[in-house]
Symmetry: C2
Subunit: 152 residues, 2 copies
Amino acid sequence: MATTWLSASEMRAWRNFIESVNIMTAAMESDLQPFGLTFGDYEVLVRLSEAEDLRMRMCDLANVLQLSPSGLTRRLDGLVSTGLVERVANPSDRRVMFAALTSKGHAKLAEAAPDHVASVRKRFFKGLTRDQIQELGNVFETVRTNLSACPR
Amino acid sequence: MATTWLSASEMRAWRNFIESVNIMTAAMESDLQPFGLTFGDYEVLVRLSEAEDLRMRMCDLANVLQLSPSGLTRRLDGLVSTGLVERVANPSDRRVMFAALTSKGHAKLAEAAPDHVASVRKRFFKGLTRDQIQELGNVFETVRTNLSACPR
DNA sequence: CGACTATCCTTGCGGTCGCAACCTTCTTCT
DNA sequence: AGAAGAAGGTTGCGACCGCAAGGATAGTCG
């Protein structure tokens, strides 16, 4: 086999990356708490707000959110119970359920978005140069593309 | 206030980053499954293997793993029941419990490590240049340091 | 048309984790 | 010394999620 361990440079990148992710997700979760939203909830609202007709099929939504079918069902249960999202049947394919953003959901997103953006800046981009941000985009586009190609 | 939304460059970096994290964690979790280990379990074993006398205080371990006290207690329950870690009392401060790596735990780590390293390379570093890896280390060191400074 | 398969969503179950409450032990302050 | 407070760890409870199974609908092929 090739090398059995990470190089010093790889190790440094990996450790700092993992720890950053751990701390950052926890911090951003608590930043969203005042709005009564989970980070996962917020992702749903964003995706729906960008979708055609403000709605998506459950399975497509599960795919982009990297969530299991049951996981999405439960996450939607919460959002539906608070009135931010509603389930809409599809007459042309009755297997399908749409998750649709309600006006209340749209308002909630508009309410939380500025704070969330500030949170991203504070937790992630703060202290990084323009070039570094640009390079981050390049790197994680490569990573994401590579991951999509891998069979899991 | 400053800008209310992310610049195009920030947006690209943020989206690719978040999606990469989502997909990658799921993929690496399943890579570890054949060894009967969670990614979280693996992190515990690594930390203990690097610690003085192969053991750490529970609260220190919870801190570095960004885990709540109860979360760590439960995670250790699993590792203790499989014999990879043992709880050791501290005579000099009887509030404290040590989590100690057993020889079986050490063996399990040695068994899983090569595959895990290969997994990291495949899911993360594949397709990145030396310079990009170096820069990733810089960027996430900045991020981690910045996060540690923030009050949460 | 009719059976077979694939797709989509939901439900039961188990595993993991955070929060709050609690107990124990150490430290501090008078 | 004695009381108040801090620190470390565990337990009850609820929330979230993945897996496997199930039920309904759509597509396919003889």
